[in-house]
């Protein structure tokens, strides 16, 4: 009899021994506990695996980023909004633009902008290098994005000739053959490359500031970027202009001005002098 009953019950039940008749109240309590445990499990798994927006509500900022956020909330929040989410009609969202963009805009003094206009102008930077790094760290931790490699000299052992070719193909359309910059439509412009540092040029290629297209690492490999920087820094900036004063490297327009202002003026005075001797 017992063995029959045993056979009909499962192995676990047999190991546990004879089932005790549980009260209705206890059974209800057990179900509640099991439901709670299942909910906790599902919720916990969701919290662990799902990268939802809620998860970043209060991201654990590193020290530098926290410093950066403090600066941001004083100097940038007017246009770029709380948590750098942008303000309609004033400034774009900075989530995902990356440290490279912040480094370019802030270290070249373009940000904070003096006023809303076609394009921000270069001016003396408002923040120190340390503060710029903190701001960049904050934006980086907000949404990721491109980062400029470490170091101040980014064109060591680069190929200047290859850089020159890449410069003429990719950059000279706007920045002109001499790197002096050029006009774009409606008051926009490509700025002069003369004051730009290695890191700023690299950051500009990575982030495509203002009207510049982005030259990602799949378009110009990092070593090609280094070549271009080498051409700008070593050739365009340090070219000794073997032909003499370069007239601003504006091409034939200033040459035409020079022939009238210098050549014709000098020779008209010479002819006045010669004809006056009679």
């Amino acid at each position: 009899m017992t063995s029959d009953n045993d056979r009909r019950r499962g192995l676990l039940a047999r190991l546990r021994g004879r089932p005790a008749a549980r009260s209705r109240g206890r059974r209800r309590l057990g179900a509640a506990v099991r439901l709670f445990a299942a909910l906790m499990l599902a919720g916990g798994a969701y919290t662990v695996f799902a990268p939802g927006a809620q998860a970043q509500d209060n991201p654990p900022l590193t020290g530098a980023a926290a410093e950066g956020k403090a600066l941001f909330d004083v100097s940038c929040v007017t246009c770029h909004g709380r948590n750098a989410q942008g303000v309609e009609g004033r400034g774009p969202s900075l989530v995902g633009v990356g440290a490279a963009s912040v480094e370019f805009q802030v270290s070249s003094g373009r940000m904070p902008m003096a006023r809303q206009e076609a394009q921000a102008h270069r001016k003396p930077p408002l923040f120190t290098d340390e503060q710029t790094r903190q701001l960049a760290q904050y934006i980086q931790e907000l949404g990721g994005g491109p980062i400029v490699p470490e170091g101040d000299n980014l064109h060591e052992d680069a190929n200047i000739a290859a850089g020159g070719e890449l410069f003429r193909i990719n950059c000279s359309q706007c920045h002109a053959f001499g790197g002096g910059g050029g006009a774009l439509s409606s008051g926009k412009f490509a700025p002069s490359l003369r004051p730009a540092s290695d890191r700023q040029i690299y950051a500009a290629m990575l982030s495509g500031p203002q009207n510049m297209p982005v030259f990602g690492d799949n378009q110009l490999r990092p070593e090609q970027k280094a070549d271009i920087i080498a051409y700008i820094q070593e050739t365009l900036k340090h070219d000794q202009d073997p032909g003499g004063f370069n007239l601003g490297r504006y091409g034939p327009s200033t040459e035409g001005l020079a022939i009238f202002l210098i050549g014709i003026v000098a020779l008209v005075f010479a002819s006045l002098w010669i004809a006056g001797k009679s």
Binding site: A161, Q173, G181, A183, R249, E255, F260, A275, K277
Partner: protein, 543 residues
């Protein structure tokens, strides 16, 4: 045996007699050396063009020794490091070698380019002088036409030379030239493919442009310049009206020695200015432009200044495309109007101007005396209109550089050019016309009442009047001075210009002679009669 004494002083004379015995040149040479040229600074502007052409020939010959007019691809291994290992055409590589590896090559290249710019600039300035003084009138219309053609042939010489180095800038210019040729209806594609030997850029264009630039066009220029100078010689130079100068004579200096020496000196000055510019100012840095590749177009790609007006007209032209539904459809691109039709009109108008003006004024006479611009307000105003038109177009040709460097919107520059092209010429006409009339009026006032002395006299009734110094003695007029007739020449407007038509004070910077003593009595400066000039004749009568 007695040694014969060698008389050094008699040698030139003996040699000259020997030459004359054999060639009988004394009589024609005497006529030539005694030929008289009138003297005024504005007559020397054409010489600047002539002398810079000589410099162009000299430096150009030097450049041909080293330039290789071929489009075969080579890999550069010269001394300019940033281009080492770059594939390029032989023409560009040899231009780089000329700049960096040939001794004196860079300064020669730069002198050649500056001389080319100066040549064209001097042609334009000379042309303005001839236009505004009426020197183009009968009998000199032919020389005006030749002069206008010289501008356009010089334009071609400049453009072919600009294209030869095969750098990024010159290739961009060539591409635009091919587009202009392609835009010509019906014949465009045949014209382009026959010049380029197929599709742009082909492999032959540099060699063809080379032979055009060093042989055909200079040959044409030399021929036109020779005829131009020959006609000046034959028809004699115009002169300003003045004492002793009439429509039937020429007053000036003999060709030899003074005029020839002055011209020789002026050549040295022109050469010196070009050499200084070639040595001090960098022009066309081809090493920065890189070799021409179809995909390389730099910002601020401009032609040289004398072509820039065409670039400007292209930039200002709205994109009006004309579709003609014949057959498969035919398109006249907007480029056709500003780059083919406009220069065509300009060539026609500029060469035909002397005939247009003579027809309008029904003027059939020969004119050897010049006119002051103020005395012909209509012509002066038309000239100012043409200059305004040209300047607006030229500035528009550089509008991207102006927009960038002066921080103006490029779109605003384009619209300013479009509006300016329509508004500036009529405005220039009106303003110039009024200025001319005002200047005439002032001349008449001075001739009638004399020069303002700056002395204010108070009359017994309390009025103040300014004392005028009459230019002529009183001749019984009621108010005490006579009216002089306008002679077509400068009227003195200031007290210290009285007597300015006499000989100038000698000396450069510092007068060699002591200036005349200042008049003691203010109100009555001693105006002496101008010393008599004696007329120097050329020994030949004038028709």
């Amino acid at each position: 045996m007695k040694r014969r004494k060698f008389d050094l002083a008699a040698t030139p004379g003996k040699a000259a007699v020997g030459v004359d015995d054999r060639f009988q040149v004394a009589t024609p040479l005497r006529r030539l050396l005694n030929k008289v040229f009138p003297d005024h600074w504005s007559f020397l502007l054409g010489e600047i063009a002539l002398f810079s052409f000589v410099v162009l020939l000299l430096t150009g010959v030097f450049l041909t020794f080293f330039f290789e007019p071929a489009m075969t691809e080579v890999v550069y291994d010269g001394s300019y490091a940033p281009l080492q290992g770059t594939p390029m055409s032989a023409a560009y590589a040899s231009s780089l070698d000329l700049s960096f590896d040939v001794r004196g090559g860079l300064v020669m290249r730069q002198m050649h380019h500056w001389a080319a710019l100066l040549f064209m600039a001097a042609i334009v300035v000379h042309m303005l002088r001839v236009f505004f003084t009426g020197a183009f009138r009968k009998p000199r219309e032919t020389n005006w036409i030749i002069g206008s053609l010289l501008f356009w042939v010089g334009f071609l010489a400049g453009f072919t030379g600009y294209s030869l180095p095969d750098d990024g800038l010159s290739g961009t210019g060539l591409r635009i030239a091919s587009a202009i040729m392609l835009s010509i209806p019906v014949i465009g594609s045949w014209l382009t493919s026959s010049i380029f030997g197929g599709e742009f850029p082909g492999t032959i264009i540099i060699s063809r442009f080379f032979i055009a630039h060093v042989l055909l066009i200079p040959g044409l220029l030399v021929a036109l310049i020779s005829v131009h100078l020959g006609l000046v010689f034959k028809q004699k130079h115009t002169q300003w009206p003045g004492p002793g100068r009439t429509n039937g004579n020429v007053v000036g200096e003999r060709m030899f020695p003074r005029y020839a020496l002055k011209q020789g000196g002026f050549f040295m000055v022109v050469f010196g200015v070009i050499a200084l510019m070639g040595g001090l100012f960098q022009i066309n840095p081809i090493w920065l432009f890189g070799p021409y590749e179809a995909w390389v177009v730099s910002a601020a790609s401009q032609p040289d200044w004398y072509v820039m007006f065409l670039d400007g007209s292209t930039r200002l032209m709205p994109a009006w495309e004309i579709n003609i539904p014949i057959g498969d459809g035919y398109v006249i691109p907007p480029l056709f109007w500003p780059t083919v039709v406009l220069p065509g009109i300009l060539v026609g108008l500029s060469t035909m101007y002397p005939f247009l003006e003579a027809r309008h004024l029904k003027d059939r006479k020969s004119h050897n005396l010049l006119q002051r611009p103020r005395d012909v307000p209509a012509r002066t105003a038309v000239g100012a209109m043409a200059v305004a038109f040209y300047v607006v177009l030229t500035l528009s040709g550089a509008n991207d550089v102006i927009a960038d460097k002066f921080q103006i919107s490029l779109n605003a520059m384009t619209w300013a050019g479009r509006i300016g092209l329509l508004v500036a010429p009529p405005l220039a006409y009106y303003v110039t016309y009024r200025l001319c009339l005002g200047l005439q009026q002032h001349d008449r006032e001075v001739l009638a009442h004399g020069v303002e002395t700056g002395i204010i006299r108070r009359l017994p009734d309390g009025r103040f009047v300014e004392v005028h110094q009459p230019l002529s003695a009183a001749d019984g007029h009621a108010d005490g001075h006579g009216e002089l007739e306008y002679a077509g020449w400068v009227v003195p407007k200031k007290m210290n210009r009285l007597g300015a038509l006499g000989p100038a004070v000698r000396g450069f910077f510092y007068p060699i002679e002591k200036p005349v003593e200042a008049p003691v009595s203010p109100g009555h400066p001693p105006v002496e009669a101008r010393p008599e000039r004696e007329e120097i004749g050329s020994g030949e009568s004038r028709r």
